[in-house]
Every structure is written in structure tokens, then in C-alpha cells.
């Protein structure tokens, strides 16, 4: 297609179609490796701890948490926003890059979407628990009821948030599932096990890959991709309005929606990088997740990190420029030099400074370094939410209502539980679902890689 390669071949190692199917399906047919079992055990333990903490929260009440009159939102909302941010990678990767016709997404989109579905499930736990009486959660649905009917407030960002998260979960799960249908058919037609044939055959919905099916499949992908691209922007903008419409110093800023969206994509891409390095290393998928793929993600991370740095600087500048003493206090005395300076500077270092190391090619190409930086980014993003939520609430307008906040074991337990849920979900995905979109990989094989039989570049033109 092109005379020069911009990105290099997307799939290395001279594969043919059959090898691609075999390689990607291999982990499903082999017994789970030892590291998988260990990781699964640890995740399950964390999940169990989470279940105990959730039981405590539901049975006793929100009083088991460290929240108080001033800091009414604490770890729960930090973790909620953090997980939703991680869950952004699915739309950003699979849908945004689909709309932009970026072919390098094919090795990564399936894992990014799986991660999204699990991360959004983790996120949804927190607001539900935060309602206090979780068994009355259905009140948030606008349904005809006997209380008037008293409808929900359609002008409330908290309601928008509920709508945005539920819609996002449904949409990303169905987009993910329908992308897998052709791959399930491939497994069905290749396996020799009767059980697998029946199970994957059921989930393949009778897919056979006729031109009639492919035509509509492609149409469906582009329609969903086109319309769901809006979600990249809308979901986290709506989350940010939960804060931005409040009058709390440090929250009441118009920069919040873009700042949150970019932050979400930042942590999502970082988590994708973490996962892709694990997949590449543990399943030896270096022919599919090439250094070029990771390089591309690293470059995007540098760029987003610069935007994050700009956003932090903008916030501080506007606080000073506004002359509002509460804003100035929050940014310059409370966060940068006061009680929350550790958290503030952790955020700045992890998000704005450390990712700049990716400017060096050696670090970009060093998987261990990239892995560590991707984890550091997610730690930094957690501290960003900590800063926004805790520092603003703990010290707002009246010094008489200033408090300190620290989490109880129950809050830590719920967070650990969601980490366990994420680990469990992702590990089950590794074991039972093709980690990359097999049919899409086949589609880009001849367009973007060299064939040894004739060293010429085969193109569709």
C-alpha cells in the first residue's frame, strides 16, 4: 500500500492464517500455567476480602467507613473515578482507533475491551454501596411509581452519571461480545473436544462467515464505532460534572471535563500497556504485540502526560488569577505546600514527570521500564483523584468544619475486593477467550506485513 513502512509490520514471524488461529487459540486449549493459578488464587483471596468488607458495609452501614460530615465522599469515589478512568481504554482503543482506521489496534482492542468491561463493573460497585441502602438502588430508575409518581431529577449530574455508566457498561459489553462471535466460530470449527464445540458453538450464534454476514458485521462495527466514539468524551465529562457543578474550592472549575477525559484515557492506556506487556511476556505473543505496538502506546502516553501537566498548571494558574482566597488556599497552601503535599507531588511526579522518560527510545523499548512506568501512571492517577476529593472536602470554607480523613479496613477491603475482581476477570479472559481478534488479525496480515515467499509488499490495490 505504501512504499515506506511508517509503523513496520503489525504481525511478525511470517505467519499464515492457520498459524494465527493456532497461536491465539493455544492458551485456551492448553492447561492453565502455574503463574496463572497463583495469580488467580491471589485475586480470589482479594475478592473474598472484598466480599467480607461489602457484607460489613451492607449489614452495618456506611458508619463502618471513615467518611464524616465534611469528607462525605472518600475512598469510594476515588476508586469509582479511578476504575471508570481505566475502563476508558476500551472505547479509546477499540472504537476511537477503529473510527480513525488505525490498523495497529487489532492486536490490542480485544484485551482493552475486556479490561473495560471488568473495570466498569468494579467501578459500579462503589456508587451502589455509597447509596447506603443498596437494596433500594432501583429508585434511581425512572419508572412509574406509587410515590407521586416522583420521577428522578433529569438535571442532576449524579443521575447523568448513573445513566452514563450503565449505558457504557452495556454498550462496551455488547461491542466486545459481537466482536468475538467470528472467533468463537473459529474455535468451534477447529476444536476436537465435544464440550468446547458445544460451548463455543453456542456462543458463536451460528456464525459461518458468509459475505452476507460479513457485510452486516462490518456495518454494525462502524455504526457502533461511530456512535460510541461519543462515549470516549461523554462518560468522563459527566463524571467530572459531579464535581464541577459543586461549589467546593478546587472542584468548581470549567477545565474539569477535558481534564477528566484526558486523565481517564491516560490511565486507560497505561493499564492497556501493563496488560499487553503481561500478555506478550506470559503467552509469548511478541509476534502480535510487537515493540512497535508498545512504542505507539508509549508515544501516546508522553503526549497525554504533557496535557496532564498543562492541566495541573492551568488549575493552579486560574486559582491564582481568580484572586479567590479559597481557591488560592486549596491549591497553594492545602495541596502544594500543606497537609496534602505528599499526595499532590506524588500526583505531579507520577503523571507529569515520570512518563516523560518515554522520550528516550531506550526506555520505550525496554519492557521492564515500560511496565514499571505504566504502573506508576496508574498510581499517580489514583493520587490525582485523592487530591481532588479529599483535600478539597477536608478543608473547605469554614475552618470549624475542617477534618482529617483516613480509611477504615472496610474501605480498604472494598478496594482490594475490586482489585481482586479485576484480576479474576482478566485472568478468566486470558484462559477462555481469544485474547486478540483473530479475524481482524487475519484481515491486516497481508496488508501490513511482508511475506517471505516473495519479498514484495502485497497490497489490496
Amino acid at each position: 500500500m505504501y512504499k515506506t513502512e511508517v509503523r513496520g509490520p503489525l504481525i511478525l514471524g511470517d505467519k499464515n492464517y492457520h498459524q494465527i488461529s493456532s497461536d491465539i487459540i493455544a492458551p485456551i486449549n492448553q492447561p492453565a500455567p502455574l503463574w496463572w493459578k497463583v495469580a488467580f488464587g491471589i485475586s480470589n483471596l482479594a475478592l473474598l476480602f472484598g466480599a467480607v468488607a461489602i457484607y460489613q458495609t451492607v449489614a452495618v452501614g456506611i458508619g463502618t467507613w471513615g467518611v464524616n460530615n465534611s469528607v462525605g465522599w472518600a475512598w469510594e469515589i476515588i476508586n469509582f473515578v479511578w476504575w471508570i478512568g481505566i475502563g476508558h481504554a476500551g472505547t479509546a482503543f477499540s472504537i476511537f482507533l477503529l473510527v480513525l482506521r488505525q490498523k495497529w489496534r487489532t492486536s490490542i482492542n480485544r484485551a482493552a475491551e475486556a479490561m473495560t468491561v471488568v473495570a466498569v463493573m468494579c467501578a459500579a460497585i462503589f456508587p451502589a454501596l455509597h447509596m447506603g441502602r443498596v437494596w433500594l438502588a432501583f429508585y434511581i430508575f425512572p419508572y412509574p411509581n406509587t410515590r407521586g409518581p416522583l420521577w428522578v431529577n433529569f438535571n442532576s449530574p449524579l443521575f447523568w452519571d448513573f445513566i452514563a455508566i450503565s449505558a457504557y457498561l452495556l454498550i462496551s459489553a455488547s461491542f466486545w461480545y459481537f466482536g468475538m462471535v467470528p472467533d468463537f466460530a473459529t474455535i468451534r470449527d477447529r476444536t476436537t473436544s465435544k464440550v468446547k464445540k458445544a460451548v463455543y458453538g453456542f456462543f458463536a450464534f451460528g456464525w459461518v462467515g458468509t459475505s452476507r454476514e460479513w457485510l452486516r458485521f462490518e456495518a454494525l462495527s462502524y455504526v457502533l464505532g461511530g456512535i460510541a466514539a461519543v462515549l470516549v468524551v461523554s462518560v468522563h465529562s459527566i463524571v467530572s460534572t459531579d464535581f464541577a457543578v459543586a461549589v467546593i474550592p478546587g472542584w468548581h472549575t470549567t477545565v474539569f471535563p477535558p481534564y477528566f477525559v484526558i486523565g481517564a484515557i491516560f490511565s486507560g492506556f497505561a493499564m492497556v500497556m501493563t496488560l499487553m506487556i503481561i500478555i506478550r511476556k506470559m503467552y509469548k505473543f511478541q509476534d502480535y504485540v510487537t515493540t512497535n505496538h508498545l512504542n505507539a502506546i508509549a508515544k501516546i502516553l508522553i503526549f497525554i502526560s504533557l496535557i496532564m501537566g498543562t492541566a495541573y498548571a492551568t488549575e493552579a494558574f486560574i486559582a491564582w488569577y481568580s484572586g479567590n482566597k479559597y481557591e488560592i488556599f486549596t491549591f497553594f497552601y492545602n495541596r502544594a505546600t500543606g497537609d496534602y503535599s505528599y499526595e499532590y507531588w506524588t500526583m505531579i511526579i507520577c503523571n507529569a514527570l515520570v512518563p516523560q522518560l518515554f522520550w528516550f527510545k531506550k526506555i520505550r523499548r525496554n519492557l521492564t521500564a515500560a511496565f514499571i512506568i505504566s504502573i506508576i501512571i496508574n498510581i499517580g492517577m489514583w493520587f490525582e483523584r485523592y487530591n481532588i476529593i479529599i483535600s478539597s472536602l477536608a478543608k473547605d470554607f469554614l475552618p470549624s468544619s475542617w477534618v482529617t480523613y483516613s480509611p477504615t479496613w472496610v474501605e480498604i477491603g472494598v478496594f482490594a475486593g475490586t482489585l481482586g475482581l479485576f484480576g479474576t476477570g482478566v485472568l478468566l479472559f486470558f484462559k477462555f477467550i481469544p485474547m486478540m481478534a483473530i479475524s481482524e488479525l487475519k484481515g491486516v496480515l497481508k496488508v501490513t506485513s511482508y511475506n517471505t515467499n516473495d519479498k514484495k509488499h502485497i497490497s489490496h490495490e
Binding site: W151, F154, P182, L215, I227, S234, G443, H460
Partner: protein, 175 residues
């Protein structure tokens, strides 16, 4: 479906397309093409068209109007609540919910449309002439009766275009 079919199996997309174009030129009717990934030229050559995008637009249009109407009904007609003297028909702030729910409606309706039109649903009795076509082979299927008496010429033609196998088969649903 208990008829005789001619099945041509190809290794490469380019060979498949050459065969598709040549057989169509010589007046054969292709019953169906099976491929492991979407081959746009093959879809085009089969003359398949879809109005999927138009359907999605309609879902979006009616979805958006429906959501707005519902919010107007609840907030203005059924139970108007006074939020600090603001207008009950808060159109600008209704837009957020409208956009998100419209996307949800389009997604779900599109999935059902896809399921209905492409005939992909749980428990479907599928017909797969050659099981390798979901893995690495490109398969063309011809109805023998529709291309009557030309079987020999068709076989030769497919082989000449690079088919690795050409065989006859009775195709019936597998389950």
C-alpha cells in the same frame, strides 16, 4: 437444502477474487462465499448491499425524540417539580441524558437488527460447507442445478484460478 453443490477452496484472497471475477464474467452464479475475515471485494462482487446505516439513523432519530418526549412528560406534564425557580422544561440539561440514552438505543436496536438480518442468533442450525473457512480457507459455493451442465467447465475454471480443492457436496444443516 439437500442439493448438489460445487465447492471451491482457495488459499489466498487474491486467488479467490480472481476466481470470483472470472466465474461471474463467464456467467456462473455464485451461491455464497465464505471467508475467515471480511473480503470487501467479494462482498461487492456478490452484489450485497446493506441499509444498516440508514436503519441506525432511524433508531437514533426516534430514540432521541422518544427520550426527549419522555423527559418532557415526566418533568413538565406529570409531576412538575420546582428546582429553585428554574424552568421545568430544562432543555439544555436534558440533552446529556438524551445523547447517552440515544447511543444506548442505537446500539441495542442495531444488535437486534444485525441478529435478524445476518441471521446470527443463539441456537442457530448453521450450514458450513467447509469447516476450514473460519480458519484459513476462502470457499466459494455454486449451486449445481443453477449452473447446469457446466460442471466440468466450472471445475476447470476454478482450478485454473488457483483453487486447491474443488469438490461436490450435499449441504445440509449440521445440527
Amino acid at each position: 437444502m439437500n442439493k448438489h453443490f460445487v465447492v471451491g477452496v482457495f488459499d489466498e484472497e487474491t486467488q479467490l477474487m480472481a476466481a470470483v471475477n472470472e466465474t461471474l464474467k463467464q456467467g456462473f452464479q455464485i451461491q455464497e462465499i465464505y471467508s475467515p475475515y471480511p473480503v470487501y471485494e467479494a462482498i461487492e462482487a456478490m452484489g450485497k448491499k446493506t441499509r444498516f446505516t440508514f436503519a441506525a439513523f432511524l433508531f437514533g432519530l426516534f430514540g432521541a425524540l422518544g427520550v426527549l418526549a419522555f423527559m418532557y412528560y415526566t418533568a413538565v406534564i406529570d409531576w412538575p417539580l420546582n428546582y429553585g425557580g428554574k424552568p421545568t422544561n430544562a432543555f439544555p440539561s436534558f440533552l446529556v441524558v438524551t445523547i447517552v440514552i440515544t447511543i444506548l438505543i442505537v446500539t441495542i436496536a442495531s444488535l437486534f437488527t444485525f441478529s435478524a438480518r445476518a441471521k446470527i442468533y443463539p441456537g442457530k442450525a448453521y450450514v458450513l460447507p467447509d469447516a476450514r473457512s473460519t480458519d484459513d480457507k476462502f470457499v466459494m459455493v455454486f449451486d449445481k442445478s443453477a449452473n447446469d451442465g457446466e460442471y466440468q467447465r466450472l471445475t476447470q475454471l476454478l482450478k485454473a484460478e488457483g483453487a486447491v480443492e474443488v469438490y461436490e457436496k450435499n449441504i445440509e444443516p449440521e445440527n
